[in-house]
Symmetry: C2
Subunit: 138 residues, 2 copies
DNA sequence: ATACAATTGCAAACAATTTGCAATTGGAAA
DNA sequence: TTTCCAATTGCAAATTGTTTGCAATTGTAT
């Protein structure tokens, strides 16, 4: 669990004003284990009366500052997640269960790929999600 | 370039009726080099007066039948692409230029990942896109 | 040639996300 | 501290992307 001070630092490093909505949203995101849509995150903010529009704008600025990333789950809305530790997901296309994973080999492969690229010489980010049927559903 | 007969076979294999809109959409998709949104694809269909709704429904059924896949380009709409040959993309976040790539090592890494998984024992599909700044923009 | 389920087009609804603008707020500078 | 200004927020309304309902049409198995 991050302290108030650490949260404040995250904002400061990103050169973002230390406002109540931002702190609350950041605290909330820290409690979420899996990617959620803006609507879902907004429900969690209920008691704090933070406008959905503010949430969208905050997510956008967090995204620009690499605090947050989008995750494509092949659904019809955008899923967001804190991006403090790099990881990926396996998604069950039947029950929507999620499993996180990390993998260091991927980075090596990506480096090889980029060295072969004509138009690019480095990568800033990448997305990788796996889809399948979980053991329970199978 | 695929012939009429091949297109017909693609539909038949997917157990989809061989209708004019589907053939036209499939032909169109075959001519597109990079993922496009439903709106963009629809513009290409102009002369053929195929309804945007039909396109959405067709893309959905093609997707279910693995003829088409969604590609997440971190934009605010869904991008679609024919999925006849497996590949990924590198995206320039500045000028939106795209480069395709294939990589066989990825599959090996994915197999390792799945063998470590608690909840999953195999993967049906995966998405992998890279984001960066292209040489021209850098 | 017929019949029925699958597919289509149109209109309208819906959901997610963005924009405009006036009021409020945080923090740098006095 | 107090002042001041740009950054941020909330509300209302607009926009964009996507889906749904239903009657008319079409493809294919019989």
């Amino acid at each position: 669990m991050k302290t108030k001070v650490e949260i404040k630092n995250l904002l400061q490093n990103a050169k973002l004003k230390n406002t109540t909505p931002r702190v609350v949203i950041l605290e909330t995101l820290l409690n979420i284990k899996h990617p959620e849509t803006a609507g879902e995150i907004h429900k969690r903010l209920k008691k704090n009366k933070i406008d959905l529009v503010t949430l969208y704008r905050t997510l956008a600025s967090f995204e620009k500052n690499k605090l947050v990333k989008r995750v494509d789950l092949h659904k019809d809305a955008i899923y967001y997640e804190l991006d403090l530790d790099h990881h990926h997901h396996i998604v069950c296309t039947k029950c929507n269960k999620l499993e996180r994973f990390e993998n260091s080999e991927i980075e090596k492969v990506l480096n090889k790929i980029i060295s072969k690229s004509v138009k690019f010489k480095n990568i800033k980010e990448h997305s990788l999600e796996l889809f399948g049927i979980c053991k329970k559903c199978a």
